[in-house]
C-alpha cells in the first residue's frame, strides 16, 4: 500500500476518533441549549467536577479535607477505603443530579425569561463557583483516573493490536487506533441514540424544545421549567461525567480537563447548537478536518500547531453558508 | 376608475394624486406555500389604501414585499413611474417608505425617545468622526432631528413616556410609539400593519385621527392593513381585498362592502348588523 495514502487514511481514522471525543463534550452543551436556550459555559468545568468527584469517591477521599484541616487544625485526608468503580459512578451520578437540582433551585429559577446573554453569564458564575468548589472539595493536584469493572479489567488504552495485526496482514500497513477511542465511540453512539429518542419521541423532549423557545409561554401551558431544567442538567451532568472519564483516563484529572470545552465549541457551531446528531457529525467533520489539515498542510508548511484555530475556521466557513450549523434549527427571521 | 396619471379630488375635498406605487403580478412562494398569487394593484399619492382579508391571506407578506424584506418570485414593483430594481430593505426605507409591524418590532432596549429618533436615522448624515467630537456638526444635526422627533411625540401625545424604556409599555402604547417611529422618518409612503389591534374604541378613534391628520397635513400616502371594518370603511379611499393570496376585490369601501365574494370570504353576514351605522 502506498505509504502516504496509508498515513493519510490513518490520520483520517484517528480524526474520526478524536471527533467522537469532542462530540462527547459537545453533547452536554447541546442538551442544555436545546432545553433552555442557555449556552452553558460551565460544561467543561462540570466534566472536571464529575471526574474529580469520581476519583475522590473511588479513593475514599474526605471531601473538603484541606479546608477542614486548615480550619480546625485536623489532619484528615482519607476514609481509608476504596469504592468499586461501578458504585463510584452511580454515586457520582447522584452528585450530579443534586448539582442539577441546586443549579435550578438557586440560579435559573430566579432567571426565568431573561435574555440568553444573561443566562450565559450565570453559567460563567457557575463555572467559577464549581471550579472553586471542586478544588476545595478534592484538592487541585493531579489525580490518575482508572475505571475498572474488576481488578485488571479497566478502561483499555493503547493501540488496538488486533486491528494493527489484521490490517498489516491484509494491507501491508498496520493501522493505529486507540482502544480508548473505540470504547468512546461505542459509548457515544449509545448516548446519541438514547438522547435522540428522548428528545424526539417523548413529551418531555417536546416540552424541552418549547422551553427553549419561550420560557413564559412554556410556563403558561403548564410545563414546569424547574422539572425540565433539573432533568436536562442532570442529563448534561451525566454526559459531562462520561466525557470526564474518557478525557481524564488519558490525561489524568486536573484543571486542564475543563478546557476540553474549547475543543467542543467548533463542533457545536458546525453541527448546530440544537442538534444531538449534529454534535456527532460536527465532531467527526471537525476531528477529521483538523487532523488532515495539520497533517497535510499545517505541519509541513505552516509550522504546525494549527489545529486549534483551524477547527474554528472550518466551522466558520460552514456557518457562512449555513448560519445555524449543519443540523441546527433554522433561525426564524420574520417581522 | 380614473386614469393612472391623473389626480382627482375626493368628495371631502382632498386631492388624490397619480399612482406612485404599483404592484404588478406579484407572486410570492415559501416552499410549498403560495402566500401571494399573481396580485396587482396600485397606490395613489395621498390616498389611504386599505388591504383587508382573512388571516393568512397574505396581507403582511404584501407589505413585506413593498418594503423589500420579501423578494417575490414573480412580478414587479413600480415606484414613482419606474420599475424598482431589486433592493435591500434599508435602501427602500431610504427612498421614503416607512412602516409599522404587526408583531410590534420596537427596539425594546431603548427609550421611547430613542426609538422615535431611530426613525430619523435615514435623515442623519454626519460622519463618524464628527460624531466622536460631538460639538459642532453632530450636535447641530442631533438637535435638528430631535426637534422633528419631539414634534411627532407631541403629536401622538406620548410626551409623558418619552424616557421610559419601551419594554415596560403596555401593548397599546407600544403601537403608538411604533407609529411615531414610522412618522419620524417623514415618509412619503407609510405602511401600517394592523396599527389598531389591541385597542379599544376610544383609542382607535385617537389613532384614526392621527392617521387622518398625517394624511392631511403632510400628504403622506398610507397603506393600511386592519381587521376592524369600521375603521377601514371610514378611513380608506380604496380597499384591496385578499383571500388565500388572491385578490378578490378592489375598489372604494362601498363597492367592496357590497361585493359578494368579499362578504363570503371575509366580512361574513353576522357583521353587518353591528357595523351598520
Amino acid at each position: 500500500m502506498n505509504e502516504q495514502l496509508a498515513f493519510t487514511i490513518e490520520v483520517f481514522a484517528n480524526g474520526l476518533m478524536a471527533g467522537v471525543l469532542y462530540a462527547l463534550v459537545a453533547l452536554g452543551f447541546v442538551l442544555i441549549y436545546k432545553a433552555s436556550g442557555i449556552f452553558n459555559y460551565a460544561q467543561g468545568v462540570m466534566a472536571l467536577f464529575a471526574a474529580m468527584t469520581l476519583v475522590g469517591i473511588q479513593n475514599g477521599q474526605v471531601p473538603f479535607a484541606h479546608l477542614i484541616n486548615a480550619m480546625f487544625g485536623l489532619d484528615v485526608h482519607k476514609f481509608g477505603w476504596t469504592v468499586h468503580s461501578f458504585v463510584a459512578i452511580l454515586l457520582t451520578v447522584a452528585v450530579m443530579v443534586v448539582l442539577a437540582w441546586a443549579v435550578q433551585r438557586f440560579v435559573f429559577r430566579h432567571l426565568v425569561g431573561q435574555e440568553p446573554i444573561i443566562l450565559f453569564m450565570a453559567t460563567i458564575g457557575l463555572a467559577y463557583f464549581l471550579e472553586g468548589v471542586a478544588d476545595l472539595m478534592w484538592g487541585s493536584e493531579l489525580k490518575a483516573l482508572d475505571v475498572c469493572a474488576a481488578p485488571g479489567a479497566c478502561l483499555p488504552q493503547g493501540m488496538n493490536m488486533w486491528l494493527e495485526g489484521t490490517t498489516y496482514e491484509a494491507l501491508g500497513y498496520g493501522f493505529f487506533i486507540d482502544n480508548l477511542d473505540i470504547v468512546a465511540s461505542i459509548i457515544a453512539a449509545i448516548l446519541v441514540v438514547g438522547l435522540v429518542m428522548f428528545a424526539q419521541y417523548t413529551k418531555q423532549g417536546r416540552a424541552m424544545r418549547a422551553v427553549a423557545d419561550d420560557h413564559q409561554a412554556a410556563l403558561s401551558v403548564g410545563v414546569s421549567l424547574n422539572f425540565i431544567w433539573i432533568l436536562v442538567w442532570s442529563l448534561a451532568g451525566f454526559v459531562a461525567l462520561v466525557a470526564g472519564i474518557m478525557w481524564g483516563a488519558k490525561s489524568g484529572v486536573q484543571f486542564s480537563l475543563s478546557l476540553i470545552a474549547l475543543k467542543a465549541l467548533p463542533v457545536l457551531m458546525l453541527g448546530g447548537f440544537t442538534s444531538i446528531p449534529g454534535a456527532i457529525v460536527g465532531g467527526l467533520i471537525i476531528g477529521v478536518g483538523e487532523k488532515l489539515f495539520e497533517f497535510l498542510i499545517g505541519a509541513p508548511f505552516l509550522g504546525g500547531a494549527t489545529e486549534n484555530w483551524f477547527a474554528y475556521m472550518l466551522a466558520l466557513l460552514f456557518l457562512v453558508f449555513r448560519p445555524q450549523g449543519l443540523f441546527g434549527e433554522k433561525i426564524i427571521e420574520r417581522v | 376608475m380614473k386614469d393612472n396619471a391623473e389626480s382627482y379630488v375626493t368628495t371631502d375635498g382632498r386631492t388624490i394624486g397619480p399612482v406612485v406605487m404599483e404592484m404588478k403580478n406579484i407572486t410570492l412562494r415559501f416552499g410549498g406555500v403560495e402566500a401571494i398569487k399573481d396580485i396587482s394593484f396600485d397606490i395613489r399619492e395621498g390616498e389611504i389604501r386599505a388591504i383587508i382579508g382573512p388571516n393568512g391571506a397574505g396581507k403582511s407578506s404584501m407589505l413585506n414585499v413593498i418594503s423589500g424584506f420579501y423578494v417575490p418570485q414573480e412580478g414587479e414593483v413600480w415606484y414613482k413611474g419606474a420599475r424598482r430594481p431589486p433592493m435591500k430593505p434599508y435602501e427602500v426605507a431610504q427612498q421614503g417608505i416607512a412602516r409599522t409591524f404587526q408583531n410590534i418590532a420596537l427596539f425594546e432596549g431603548m427609550s421611547v425617545l430613542d426609538n422615535v429618533m431611530t426613525g430619523r436615522l435615514t435623515h442623519m448624515k454626519t460622519g463618524m468622526l464628527s460624531q466622536m467630537i460631538w460639538r459642532g456638526a453632530a450636535e447641530r444635526e442631533e438637535v435638528a432631528n430631535r426637534e422633528v422627533a419631539e414634534r411627532i411625540i407631541d403629536f401622538l401625545e406620548i410626551q409623558a413616556i418619552r424616557k421610559t424604556p419601551v419594554a415596560r409599555l403596555p401593548y397599546g402604547l407600544k403601537k403608538r410609539v411604533e407609529l411615531a417611529r414610522a412618522l419620524a422618518a417623514e415618509p412619503s409612503i407609510l405602511l401600517l400593519d394592523e396599527p389598531m389591534a389591541g385597542m379599544n374604541v376610544e383609542e382607535k378613534e385617537d389613532m384614526s385621527r392621527f392617521i387622518l391628520d398625517v394624511n392631511d397635513e403632510f400628504g403622506t400616502t398610507i397603506a393600511l392593513i386592519e381587521h376592524d371594518m369600521g375603521v377601514v370603511m371610514d378611513l380608506s379611499d380604496r380597499v384591496v381585498v385578499m383571500d388565500y393570496g388572491k385578490k378578490i376585490g378592489d375598489g372604494t369601501p362601498h363597492e367592496v362592502r357590497n361585493n359578494q365574494a368579499v362578504i363570503d370570504a371575509y366580512l361574513g353576514v353576522a357583521h353587518d348588523e353591528e357595523d351598520a351605522t
Binding site: D75, D135, S140, L142, A144, S251, S256, F295, G303 | -
Partner: protein, 406 residues
C-alpha cells in the same frame, strides 16, 4: 526576619506542578527555623502569594510582596520572569529563575539581578544530546531526533540550540509543536509514528506532559528513547500513563527521592511538628525536591551574603551579592544533609548560571520512583556561551545597557 517570598501557584492549569514546589520551598525554611534557628541567627519567613501561573497576578504578587522586604524572588513562570527582569533591576532585588526563565540571563554583566544557576534550558537541550551521544558512542550521525514542545516562548527555547547541535553532530532534527493546553495530541504523535525518529525530546508543561507520554505509549514509542526536560519529568507526568511509562527519562539538575539525611530533619522538625506546608503528602517527589533545592540555594546565598557583608539581617541588595558569590561544593551539600543532591558549581558576577551540569533520571513504573541514571555532566559550553552572548547583547542593545560587572 529574612524574607523569602514564595510566588506559588496552587490553582489553575499548572497547579499540579506548583503545589509540590511551593511545599518544598516552604518546608525547607520551616526546618531551618526549627533546627538551626534560622540563618545566621535570624529567623526566616516565607510569605506566599498565589500567582496561578498568570502574569498579571504575578506582577500583583511582586508588588505586594515587595513591601515586605523580600530578599529573592522565584517567579516560577517564564512569563513573570520576563516581567520582572527589568523591574527587579530597578528595584535592586535579585531574582532566581532556576531552570526556567530567560536563558541568556546567565550573562550577569547584562542581567545584573537575574540568576539562573545551576542550569538553563539550553543546558537542557545540550545535556540531552550529550547523553544521547554517550549512549551512541559519541556519534549521532544520521539519527533522527524530534522535539515535541509546548508552543510558547518556553517550549521554543531549545530550538536554536538543537538546530546548532544538529549541524554540529549531524543528526536530523524536526520540530513538533503542541498548542496549549495540549489535551489532544493525536496529530503530533501520528506524525512521530510516521517519521519514526530515533529519539524524542520533550519540552512540555502541565497536562501536555501526561498526554504526550500516554500517546507515546499508545503508539509504542520506546520509552527509553523519550527524554523530557526537567519540567516534563515529575511523578505527575508519568503516573497517568501507568505501566506503559516505564523507562521514560527526564533531565534533572538535582537529586531525586528521599534518600538524603535532610529528609529526616524535615520529618522531625516539620512534619511531626505539624508544620508541613500544604497537605504534606508531596515530600520526596521530584518537584518537591526542586522547591527544597531552590530554598537551599537561597539559604546558602543568604549565608554567603551574611559573610560578605558581616551583618545577619541582610537586605535584598546584599542578598544579590551573596548570590553572585555563591559556591556550592560537595562538602557544603554533605554538611547540609544533601550529599550529591546537585552539581557543585560556582556563581560569579559575570556568570549567573553556574556550570550547567545536567543529569538524567529514569522512571520505574512498578516502584513508582525516579532514579538518577547518570552523573551531573557537562554541557556544550562553547556553543551555549556563544548563543548567550548573542542574545544578551541584543537585549543590552535594546535596553541601552552597558555590560559591566556590578
Amino acid at each position: 526576619d529574612l524574607v523569602f517570598p514564595s510566588m506559588s501557584y496552587r490553582t489553575g492549569p499548572y497547579a499540579a506542578g506548583g503545589i509540590p514546589f511551593a511545599d518544598g520551598y516552604a518546608d525547607y525554611f520551616t526546618m531551618l527555623n526549627a533546627r538551626d534557628g534560622g540563618i545566621g541567627g535570624v529567623m526566616t519567613s516565607v510569605p506566599e502569594c498565589e500567582t496561578a501561573y498568570n502574569t498579571e497576578k504575578g506582577v500583583e504578587c511582586y508588588e505586594s510582596l515587595k513591601g515586605g522586604g523580600g530578599l529573592v524572588y522565584q517567579p516560577l513562570s517564564t512569563g513573570i520572569t520576563y516581567q520582572l527582569i527589568p523591574k527587579t533591576t530597578v528595584d535592586d532585588i535579585p531574582m532566581h529563575t532556576m531552570g526556567y526563565g530567560r536563558t541568556s540571563a546567565k550573562n550577569g554583566e547584562v542581567f545584573t539581578h537575574t540568576f539562573n544557576y545551576p542550569a538553563n534550558y539550553w543546558d537542557g537541550a545540550s545535556g540531552a544530546i550529550n547523553y544521547l551521544l554517550a549512549e551512541n558512542g559519541g556519534d549521532l550521525n544520521g539519527k533522527k531526533i524530534s522535539l515535541v514542545y509546548h508552543n510558547s516562548a518556553y517550549g521554543k527555547e531549545p530550538i536554536r540550540t538543537l538546530t546548532d547541535l544538529a549541524a554540529k553532530h549531524g543528526f536530523e532534527f524536526t520540530e513538533v509543536p503542541v498548542d496549549h493546553p495540549g489535551q489532544e495530541q493525536k496529530s503530533q504523535w501520528l506524525q512521530i509514528r510516521r517519521d519514526k525518529p530515533d529519539y524524542v525530546i520533550m519540552y512540555g508543561w502541565g497536562v501536555m506532559n501526561q498526554v504526550a507520554i500516554q500517546e507515546a505509549v499508545n503508539i509504542r514509542f520506546p520509552m527509553e528513547n523519550f527524554i523530557g526536560v526537567w519540567w516534563s519529568g515529575s511523578e505527575n507526568d508519568v503516573l497517568a500513563a501507568g505501566a506503559g511509562a516505564n523507562g521514560y527519562k527526564a533531565l534533572t539538575f538535582h537529586g531525586v527521592g528521599k534518600d538524603f539525611p535532610v529528609f529526616a530533619d524535615i520529618q522531625t522538625h516539620v512534619v511531626d511538628a505539624g508544620k508541613a506546608a500544604g497537605a504534606g503528602d508531596q515530600i520526596g517527589t521530584v518537584l518537591y525536591n526542586r522547591g527544597l533545592y531552590a530554598a537551599m540555594l537561597a539559604a546558602e546565598a543568604a549565608k554567603t551574603a551574611q559573610e560578605i557583608h558581616g551583618v545577619a539581617q541582610i537586605n535584598a541588595s546584599q542578598m544579590r551579592d551573596g548570590m553572585a558569590a555563591l559556591e556550592i561544593t560537595e562538602e557544603k551539600m554533605a554538611a547540609l544533609g544533601l550529599p550529591n543532591f546537585g552539581p557543585s558549581f560556582k556563581v560569579s558576577c559575570d556568570n549567573h548560571g553556574g556550570d550547567g551540569m545536567v543529569g538524567v533520571t529514569q522512571w520505574d513504573a512498578t516502584a513508582k520512583t525516579w532514579t538518577l541514571i547518570s552523573d551531573f555532566a557537562e554541557t556544550d559550553k562553547e556553543l551555549i556561551d556563544g548563543l548567550i552572548a548573542e542574545d544578551s547583547a541584543a537585549y543590552a542593545a535594546e535596553n541601552n545597557i552597558t555590560p559591566e560587572c556590578k
